[in-house]
Symmetry: C2
Subunit: 329 residues, 2 copies
């Protein structure tokens, strides 16, 4: 029986964390929902009852075994010392500490063991990164992957509740002939694609795109892995899709690749149908399809994968880390 | 003064061809709109008046200088002999003859001269192919491109009027809680992405994806060009976008690449803003942005381009071919 806090419990990821806690069969003695002052008293349904949101303060974490974090980098940085002091293990979905030395960056099916070597803080990787490497890990286990080229098709809910509302509102504005309001995204997202997620880094790639490289290297324990990524927002509510080509050291047989993906915990091989974001919404599996030989490099494999980025790309992965720690106590 | 027929005048591309004929300042003595029997008598506005649709029959092409084709492969094959017999030059947007020897496959800004060596039939390339190579041609002119990796974000209007209606109807069905009807696409396209355009070929790529390779080789006169492509339908009404990485023989300077794209007729360099499909809708230019060094191959360049696939990807390109022939008479 554990005591779990959710920091940022009213956001899209925080709410999903609560749902995943229930589903994963983690026996909890207490679930403490923490959020900003304006959400205090909000009731959130859980199992047969409701849980009431409390204000997140410095002393909110006392007595907890785990804190699941679903807040901004700034808030995660602010609360880290207090969580550390409380003795709870902090499983953080923000990107603030992902690349910090000594902080495991974990996808349980890929590098779950890393979680066991934590010093109080474990980071949850970026959503597109989790989904892409869930598809690539079984290939990597057959032969080291040296290079990845990825183009993403990212759902609006990756930007939280505000992203979902913005797409809905814009579609409605267009239908009724009203002016389209742009708030969260750099341009209208309804019936549009925006190849700009995150802010720009010096090399012209965005912070979101560089996560696929930097976080991928850490998860795969491979500092030499080369990755080029283009991140694109599309007018989809839920589930990210990624078009990926990877190059392996050895030339792999396509059937061997398919069998490896099929056998990999957390992946669903789609050999006859093409995975779509709709197909993968509201579940924890990553669907992998369109597996074929790259036509540029004979050691290359090209594929298409989809996964629910609020679940496997964020909340479910964080809860799976918690479960991994519990199971290996 | 020329006499121009449009075969398939009532479809999305056919209507756009008529509009482009007016815009491109081509002096026409006659424009003959040809379509199936059920469209006969339909009036289509043109300049200050209207044009009336006639039934396309074997003898419909007599006296014409050019026929612009915007029909299916089967219909294009059916009418080819009649058009040939009439003596008109057939500029065909179908994919039926694109790879046939002796049939030029032309993007006027790239290989306009090829059009001059026709034998009565000139093919208009695939929409995504045109837009991608419009972005890549100026790079290719600096140094031969050896390999391309492309992922497309294709608008529903690429599937014609029916595709546009299907997205609209599905969005409306979802809003009103009705059942979503799937007709033209392999799955629901509203709020979804479908990585399946065209039919499958033996190597697991779709016919649409193989066009990027086979048509690209013909347009660039480079039978050794290597191309891997993933074609994806997205819930956008108009304009295709493509995420592309290309590898050149020589390592190019990024500023040199940007200057070349900026100087290339038909391209718009977007250095400060990111091109979107909405931004490029209803115009003939291809917008190229996000130009940066590939992080896998030091001779690689990664970019994002958008273009209106009904215009530059189809109708405008066909009319530009006609104009090129007229200008070089």
């Amino acid at each position: 029986m554990t005591k779990v806090g959710i920091l940022g419990a009213t956001g899209a990821v925080g709410r999903q964390m609560l749902e995943c806690l229930g589903e994963q069969g983690i026996e909890t003695e207490e679930i403490r929902l923490l959020a900003s002052a304006r959400s205090v008293g909000k009731e959130i349904p859980f199992k047969d009852g409701v849980l009431r949101v409390q204000e997140a303060k410095e002393d909110s974490f006392d007595g907890l075994d785990y804190v699941l974090g679903a807040v901004s980098n700034a808030l995660s940085q602010k609360f880290r010392p207090a969580i550390e002091k409380s003795g709870a293990v902090y499983i953080d979905n923000s990107s603030a500490f992902r690349l910090e030395e000594g902080v495991p960056l974990v996808v349980p099916e890929i590098n779950g063991e890393d979680a066991l070597h934590h010093h109080g803080l474990i980071a949850n990787p970026n959503c597109s990164t989790i989904i892409t490497y869930m598809a690539l890990a079984p290939i990597y286990h057959l032969s080291r992957i040296t290079a990845i080229n990825a183009s993403t098709y990212q759902a609006v809910s990756g930007a939280g509740m505000g992203g979902i509302e913005e797409l809905s509102e814009q579609v409605e504005a267009i239908r009724t002939g009203k002016e389209v309001q742009v708030k969260h995204f750099p341009a209208q997202i309804a019936y549009n694609c925006i190849a700009e997620i995150g802010s720009y880094t010096d090399n012209g790639y965005t912070t979101e795109e560089m996560k696929m490289l930097n976080e991928g290297r850490k998860i795969m324990h491979d500092p030499d892995l080369k990755v080029t990524c283009t991140c694109v927002r599309v007018p989809v509510f839920r589930s990210h899709s990624i078009s990926v080509t990877c190059v392996t050291e050895k030339k792999l047989d396509l059937d061997e690749v398919k069998r490896a993906i099929d056998a990999f915990d957390g992946d669903v091989l789609m050999d006859q149908k093409v995975p779509t974001p709709l197909m993968t919404s509201n579940q924890d599996k990553v669907y992998v399809g369109r597996i074929r030989r790259d036509l540029v490099n004979e050691n290359g494999i090209t594929l298409w994968c989809c996964g629910d980025q609020i679940r496997k790309g964020a909340a479910a992965n964080a809860v799976e880390i918690l479960k991994y720690l519990e199971d290996h106590k």
